[in-house]
């Protein structure tokens, strides 16, 4: 269990990097403080949760919501591409992808 007030500035920088969000040094200071508070607030849930209460990832106590394997209409290619900044050969055009093959 994570102790309260444990989110370091480095961790915030790391997570920002993973999320492809560029933060200036000032922003890192600001957000590290704010996020640390948020983590602290959420951590107070741990005080209320007893060992016999299983953690849940969904607010409703539902399981097995499924649909039958039946084809539904798709968008047309034009519709699918209508929100794309650029397209070519009926495909989404994205900038050059680096460092991966």
């Amino acid at each position: 269990m994570r102790p309260m007030s444990s989110l370091s500035r480095d961790e915030v920088a790391h997570v920002a990097g993973l999320a492809r969000i560029h933060l200036s040094d000032e922003e890192l200071d600001t957000f590290a403080g704010q996020l640390d508070s948020i983590v602290g607030f959420v951590a107070s849930v741990n005080e209320a949760a007893a060992d016999d209460i299983p953690p849940m990832s969904h607010p409703l106590p539902l399981t097995n919501v499924t649909r039958p394997d039946e084809v539904r209409p798709s968008l047309t290619a034009d519709e699918a591409l209508s929100g794309a900044p650029a397209s070519e050969q009926q495909r989404f055009l994205v900038p050059r992808i680096l460092s991966e093959d």
Binding site: G17, V65, R72, R96
Partner: protein, 503 residues
């Protein structure tokens, strides 16, 4: 080009450890989390919707058939089936997933702790332990434009087709395979082959490696012989045939050994297999980017298969492929070696269909694994594809075999007929008719030819009269020549023996 050492030398110094991850694309009608069709080869971006395009507000719903197929795969792999499990988001930035995450499963796979018994080419059994099988979705297809080779390096930009994004995948992960020694590459191939056979028997996937509906990533590491601590592994991707699985594992073993022999260390990275050159090249190192920040998918509720459902699905499992082969071997009267040849050639189903179409078991085996496999091998093609492209089906072979067993054609005529069929001249009967292939049914002509040959070869004839029956072979050859090949050799033999008092 990386340095490699001789394979035997590598194995003498190091113990290889493998881990195999196989992705199987399910053959459901629709995607895992939306109702878009999954047809292979459709026009780009015609099978997408707000869910699989990751548009704001779209909510996924699980495909019931996808879950059932996952459970059936788990059961066929002798796994435990989770009573309760969740999907998780695997977050990464790459345009092949428009949502910027892949819906997968993390620490709660639907199936875990199983095994698959496989058979190596010489019949040796080997048990591969399964760590887990989990549900996830496939990614879109990228096309890199502007590079000379269509590869990513040097490309100006990339084009994305999301028809494949969201198609259900089952990822099957083995436990580390230890103790395989020199047979590691062979075991990898046998395992993937057995998995492919199982997926087809379950009818959950067409498992075509060349089309990408089954893909294998091979993790390989070496440790000094007798050591217990695993070495650093590499993960080879893009291995898209059974033969490549074997070659890629073998190559990585020889490459790792060369690095370790020089006192170097292996970089933990992905490697890319190149079918044409038979080598792997460096992909990307494991890095921060591999921090996928998994968390439970909040848009989907847990999957909790009831034990009743699991038992219902267990009842739908097909006969395990290995048992089925044993049963068929008995029915067909094949020796162990014959059956293994059939299996290794990937011809079990084809022969079964050929027999069902009316062929004799021996005939079906002879034509497929003898003649057609030989010709396909010569052409450098897998034999099933070789035959299919030339319109040779199990029915064709059954018809050909029928022409032999009915006594119309002898072996060499049947081979000529098959040549004609492969060349597109028509059905076996049409080819035999067109080429005038037919055994002489007139016993009088055959009798006369035998008499003539015996008179011309008094010495040989005397040997046969004296009891050396095998000497008759020379006379049969002469009779066949006399008959211009259009005689039934077995019949010729019996007439020779009869005339020489050995019948």
């Amino acid at each position: 080009m990386d340095a490699v050492v001789d394979y035997d030398e590598a194995i003498a110094t190091y113990d290889p450890v493998m881990g195999l991850e196989v992705h199987v694309e399910l053959n459901t009608e629709t995607k895992m989390f939306c109702g878009c069709a999954t047809e292979f080869g459709a026009e780009p971006n015609t099978q997408t919707c707000p869910v699989c395009l990751g548009l704001p507000g779209a909510l996924p719903v699980v495909n019931a058939k996808g879950v059932e197929s996952a459970i059936r795969i788990g059961l066929a792999l002798n796994c435990e089936i989770a009573e309760w499990c969740r999907f998780a988001r695997k977050n990464y930035f790459y345009p092949d997933m428009p949502k910027n995450f892949q819906t997968s499963q993390y620490d709660e796979p639907i199936a875990f702790e199983g095994y698959l018994d496989v058979e190596l080419e010489d019949g040796t059994p080997w048990r591969v332990e399964i760590e887990r099988a989990h549900m996830e979705e496939d990614t879109g297809k990228s096309l890199h434009v502007g590079g000379a080779t269509g590869r990513i390096h040097g490309a100006d930009h990339s084009l994305l087709d999301y028809n494949r994004a969201g198609i259900p995948l089952i990822e099957i992960v083995t436990k580390p395979l230890v103790g395989a020694g020199e047979r590691a590459p062979e075991i990898a191939k046998a395992y993937v082959g057995a998995l492919r056979e199982l997926m087809r028997a379950l009818d959950v996937s067409d498992a075509r490696m060349e089309q990408g509906s089954m893909r294998c990533d091979a993790n390989v590491s070496l440790m000094p012989k007798g050591a217990e601590k695993f070495g650093t592994r590499t993960e080879t991707k893009n291995v898209n045939s059974l033969r490549s699985v074997e070659r890629a594992v073998r190559y990585e073993i020889t490459r790792h050994a060369a690095v370790l022999n020089e006192g170097g260390s292996i970089l933990q990275e992905t490697r890319h297999w190149h079918e044409d050159t038979g080598v792997t090249t460096s992909g990307r190192p494991k890095s921060d980017a591999d921090d996928y920040r998994y968390f439970p998918e909040p848009d989907l509720v847990p999957v909790a298969p009831s034990r009743e459902l699991v038992e219902q699905l267990r009842a739908t499992l097909p006969e395990p492929p290995a048992e089925r082969r044993k049963r068929l071997q008995g029915e067909w009267g094949f020796s162990d070696l014959e059956m293994r040849d059939v299996y290794n050639a990937g011809a079990v189903e084809t022969i079964e269909e050929t027999i069902a179409a009316g062929a004799s078991a021996a005939g079906a085996r002879k034509w497929w694994t003898g003649e057609i496999a030989r010709l396909a091998n010569k052409a450098g093609e897998p034999f099933v594809e070789f035959a299919a492209q030339r319109h040779v089906t199990p029915k064709t072979i059954a018809e050909l075999d029928g022409l032999v067993t009915s006594g119309r054609l002898n072996d060499s005529m049947a081979r000529q007929t098959l040549e004609g069929v492969l060349a597109g001249e028509g059905t076996p009967t049409e080819v035999a008719d067109a080429r005038g292939l037919e055994l002489v049914q007139d016993d009088g002509a055959l009798e006369a030819a035998v008499t003539k040959v015996i008179e011309a070869n008094p010495d040989v004839a005397q040997k046969v009269r004296d009891g050396k029956v095998q000497a008759a072979g020379a006379l049969i050859g002469q009779v066949m020549k006399e008959m211009k090949g259009q005689a039934d050799a077995a019949k010729a033999r019996s007439i020779i023996l009869e005339q020489l008092g050995q019948a």
